[in-house]
């Protein structure tokens, strides 16, 4: 299966959230705010008076600091800039313009430490200002010798403790400096390369008096805002509702998910998509790629055959599909064939020790049977390579042979084909060479990430924000 962009489809862009929702009317962009989820709410409420945000240039320190400043409330924060004037900062981070307008801005590029400390006293003495950001602190502190710097930092700590104001120091110094030992909390923001794509990560080095359930998080600066991702959470399938079908995109079939359609441009008839996954990708995340196309095919009056992943609970799958498309569609136009289950082999008239060829024949027969029931005679085949590999570990050549035949047959009949492939599969490279498109799923810092290798796409965090069966994809920028 080839996936493609075009045909009037917009790629998932920074503007998607404001301008586009999928056909089922849901937004695909996560909005998980640092101050409300991470425990930094506690920072805003008290136990952490002083916080150091460090990282190299361009990692997102200023946006993180501005997010915290924003949470202080209108008129209760101050931004002390030793780097850029207000107008320039507003241009660089236009999404934060309102925050900067709502708070005091002090341009100290030409000031010395005495003036800066006096400014802080003026701000903290009336106890009206609750949060002060120094961006950057080292831009100012580097002008002082070590002892004088430490004393100025101690002065600030004492002023913060007495006034209750929270001081946020932004620093580009990678190593530990004197302030590391004085502050209550240290956050580090980093840019790391993951599969040739840039991923942003923030690391909590310390937060005194605050429980840290996880030390590293993935975040994005999409739309110039800081959005971080908690660990993947399994969706609540009880909230599955009737699915509103998504029509074909030109000549391509829809994935049944606005997010996946925007990413890959739909499923070209006759193509094969290989979805490679790391062993630590949770099954519900794979299900978010596996089920929407099946649901949409059934909703469109078409048919589908599913050879599920090992460990899949067919009852849960059946229940989700029934809720989404109704009992009749599931009964009449879907075949779930679990090759690892004896009862399924029996109903498909397969022996217990069936060969790859026999299973291939059974799948072909099911495809032929269901094709007759499909409104436009097309069928979707979703297949776990892992299940078949487990079954035919000693005869992988035969498995490859029948998979190859299957790809050719489906191509000729304009069907759609999705193969789920474990990263460590011994036949991985052979399968990938036969696939027209290729997506990868893996986990980093508890977040499920996805990107297209063929065609090349950006990298996205996969969540379930509203519909439990459908993925929400947020681009990491």
């Amino acid at each position: 299966m080839t996936t493609r962009k075009g045909l009037g489809m917009k790629p998932l862009t920074q503007g998607d959230r404001q301008t586009e929702t999928s056909d089922s009317g849901r937004s695909d962009l996560a909005e998980t705010r640092i101050a409300t989820v991470l425990g930094l709410k506690q920072f805003m409420q008290g136990p952490i008076n002083t916080l150091l945000i460090k990282g190299l240039a361009g990692t997102g320190k200023t946006i993180v600091a501005l997010e915290i400043l924003k949470a202080a409330g209108q008129g209760k924060g101050a931004y002390i800039s030793s780097r850029v004037p207000k107008e320039l900062l507003e241009t660089h981070i236009s999404a934060m313009k309102e925050t900067l307008e709502n708070q005091q801005f002090l341009d100290i590029r030409l000031e010395n430490m005495t003036s800066v400390l006096d400014f802080v006293m003026q701000l903290t003495e009336p106890k009206k200002i609750s949060t002060i950001v120094f961006d950057s602190w080292d831009g100012l502190a580097k002008e002082l010798d070590q002892k004088e710097r430490l004393r100025a930092e101690k002065t600030l700590m004492a002023l913060a403790n007495n006034s209750g104001a929270q001081l946020i120091f932004v620093s580009e110094e990678p190593g530990a400096t004197t302030i590391d030992y004085l502050v209550d909390g240290i956050l580090e923001v980093v840019r790391v390369e993951e599969q040739d794509r840039v991923v942003r990560e923030f690391i909590i080095h310390k937060l005194r008096g605050t429980k840290i359930p996880q030390h590293k998080y993935i975040f994005t600066l999409l739309e110039g805002k800081f959005t971080f991702f908690g660990p993947y959470t399994i969706p609540d399938y009880s909230k599955t509702s009737k699915f509103a079908r998504i029509p074909d995109i030109g000549e391509s079939y829809s994935f049944g998910s606005g997010a996946l359609d925007r990413l890959f441009g739909g499923i070209v008839p006759g193509s094969t998509l290989a979805v490679e996954y790391d062993q630590n990708v949770p099954y519900p995340a794979l299900r978010a790629i596996e089920l929407p196309p099946i649901i949409n095919f059934l909703s469109m009056g078409r048919s589908a055959v599913l050879l599920p992943l090992p460990g899949a609970n067919d009852e849960i799958t059946g229940s989700i599909l029934t809720k989404a498309v109704g009992k009749r569609a599931v009964r009449d136009r879907l075949r779930i064939l679990n090759v690892l289950r004896a009862s399924d082999l029996q109903t498909a008239n397969l022996p217990k020790n069936a060969t790859p060829k026999e299973i291939h024949e059974a799948v072909t027969n099911e495809t032929i049977r269901l094709r007759k029931k499909s409104t436009d005679k097309t069928v979707l085949l979703v297949k776990s390579v892992s299940a078949l590999e487990n079954l035919f570990a000693s005869d992988l050549d035969s498995l490859l042979e029948v998979t190859s035949q299957e790809i050719i047959t489906l191509q000729q009949s304009h069907d759609a084909h999705i193969l789920f492939l474990p990263k460590d599969s011994p036949i991985r490279s052979r399968i990938l060479s036969m696939s027209s498109s290729y997506a990868k799923l893996f986990v980093r810092d508890g977040t499920v990430l996805m990107f297209g290798v063929k065609p090349y796409t950006g990298i996205y965090a996969l969540q379930h924000l509203e519909d439990p069966t459908s993925p929400s994809l947020t681009q990491l920028v």
Partner: protein, 87 residues
């Protein structure tokens, strides 16, 4: 005070208190320090100021009781009187 707050910190405090020209009145100074640094911070600073003065005057550190909380105004007055007496 600059041994605790540094030269910048001390200058900033004095500037902020508008006490850069003359020697500040200890009681007034104490009040203003309290506003900026609270009880604990003020006590530490005042103890540092008294200690430094005693060292500069070559007086024994145990001459004045500055352990725990102490009256900065009274202590400073004692020092001033002592200096005058020495003269």
């Amino acid at each position: 005070m600059d041994k605790v707050l540094g030269q910048s910190g001390t200058a900033a405090v004095l500037f902020h208190m508008k006490m850069t020209n003359n020697l500040p009145d200890p009681a007034e100074f104490h009040k203003k320090l309290l506003i900026l640094f609270g009880v604990a911070g003020t006590l530490s600073l005042e103890r540092a100021i008294v200690k430094d003065l005693l060292i500069r005057l070559n007086w024994a550190l145990d001459l004045l009781n500055i352990q725990g909380s102490f009256d900065f105004d009274a202590t400073m007055n004692k020092i001033v009187k002592g200096v005058k007496h020495d003269d």
